[in-house]
């Protein structure tokens, strides 16, 4: 298992307009971790994820993701990172298979990889040819995770991934994430749910007021 540093942030500041969403975040994540970012809404959890994805500029401090300095170049790291926010990034008029194939074609993955990804997400068989718009929240979530798999993303950034899922959906999601880590990915989850996610994460940090408050 790869234990190199995946994320290295020191005193990072991110602003939206004139509001400092991150007011000096120091965080280290090593390969193979499932890190849980816990905190209330507005604390900055989502912003930390977006920063790691290279989506928002870091205006103070330093941030390095997968060896790339985000203050110099935050675009080149994007294709190695998968961000799953509140939306799934799916095309509701297409089937599951067509959605995954779209990403497969972009990265040059073949039929076999598509089937493998669908399999791993439990979406093989009849489910694969269902219109995404007709799926349940949990199934849509799994479809978007299949996209992350087919993209061979090394760092998975998930914002409230368990939201809207029933008990079985959450269990399925947890086992998928553990599998992904075994296969070499690193996972960061932002969540304000305490009990459930604690069992999944290897480490938990508390985010509050745009800063990291404690590590457990």
């Amino acid at each position: 298992m790869n234990t190199a540093s995946v994320v290295e942030m020191r005193d990072a500041v991110v602003v939206y307009g004139d509001f400092p969403a991150l007011a000096g975040v120091t965080l280290s994540v090593v390969g193979g971790e499932i890190l849980l970012l816990q905190g209330a809404n507005g604390a900055g959890k989502s912003t930390i994820l977006r920063a790691c994805a290279g989506l928002v500029p870091i205006v103070r401090g330093t941030a390095e993701v997968l060896g790339t300095d985000l203050r110099i170049d935050r675009k080149s790291v994007r294709h190695r990172v998968g961000l799953l926010g509140h939306s799934n990034g799916l095309f509701s008029d297409l089937t599951v298979r067509q959605n995954v194939t779209f990403w497969a074609q972009l990265v040059g993955a073949g039929e076999e990889e598509i089937n493998d990804a669908l399999d791993r997400m439990g979406m093989a068989g009849r489910l694969a040819d269902e219109r995404v718009g007709a799926l349940s929240a949990g199934q849509k979530r799994r479809c978007s995770l299949a996209n992350l798999v087919i993209r061979r993303a090394e760092l998975w950034l998930l914002d409230e991934p368990h939201a809207g899922l029933d008990g079985r959906g959450r269990d399925e999601l947890d086992s998928i994430l553990r599998q992904a880590v075994t296969a070499g990915a690193t996972v960061m989850i932002a969540s304000h749910e305490i009990e459930r996610s604690r069992n999944l994460a290897t480490r938990t940090v508390l985010v509050s007021g745009g800063r990291i408050k404690e590590v457990s």
């Binding site: 990172v81 939306s87 990034g89 095309f91 067509q98 972009l106």
Partner: protein
Amino acid sequence: MSIGTTWRVARVVATKDLRIEMRSRVVANQVLPFAGLVLIMFAFALDDDILLERVAGGLVWLATLFSLFIVVQRSFGIETADGALDSIRVAGVDPAGIFLGKALALVVQLLILEIVLIGGAVVLYRVRVEPASLVLLVTCLLLATLGLAFVGALFGGFAAGIRGRETLLPLLLLPAIAPVLIGATKATEAAFGISGMVTSEGWPWVGLLAVFAAVFGVGGLSAFGPLIEE
């Protein structure tokens, strides 16, 4: 490094767009009827057969422009409905490829729309298309559509999704496509033989359309990426 070469990205994105259209049939079932209605509305408003025949060229392209807004907003609506454009951008996919792909899909949809509209003009406004001017007409259609698709993809992408930006689309789009309206109308009138125009008079206007398409093709390829960036 980004995912895929520009052309491959464009192909995948365009195919995806057209596949979605084939399944949802929004352009076929909603936009085409709308465009046809616009032609009929023009007839009500202008109420003069001779006048209608004379301005048929302009009316066809006006109807196209009105429909352009809807088609472009639909094109980016599928991207923003579930954050797909964001995901694609976030994944580091080559933005020039996204631009080209969206534009290509728009070209196909717009061409179908324009052919239907010209058919409508032949039926409703009694214009005639001579075989001799077919080359002019087809070239005009292709180049004008290319220009409209490039501008539509560029500003459509910019206006997509962010609250307060969607309303900018018409304001940004209309001044930009004025040259296409002027050029395509004149070339089409030449093809229809309106007011005694000869086919050869249409070619300078086609030249204008070509320049426009080239300018916005190149401009769009470079500007799309920065414009959709946060």
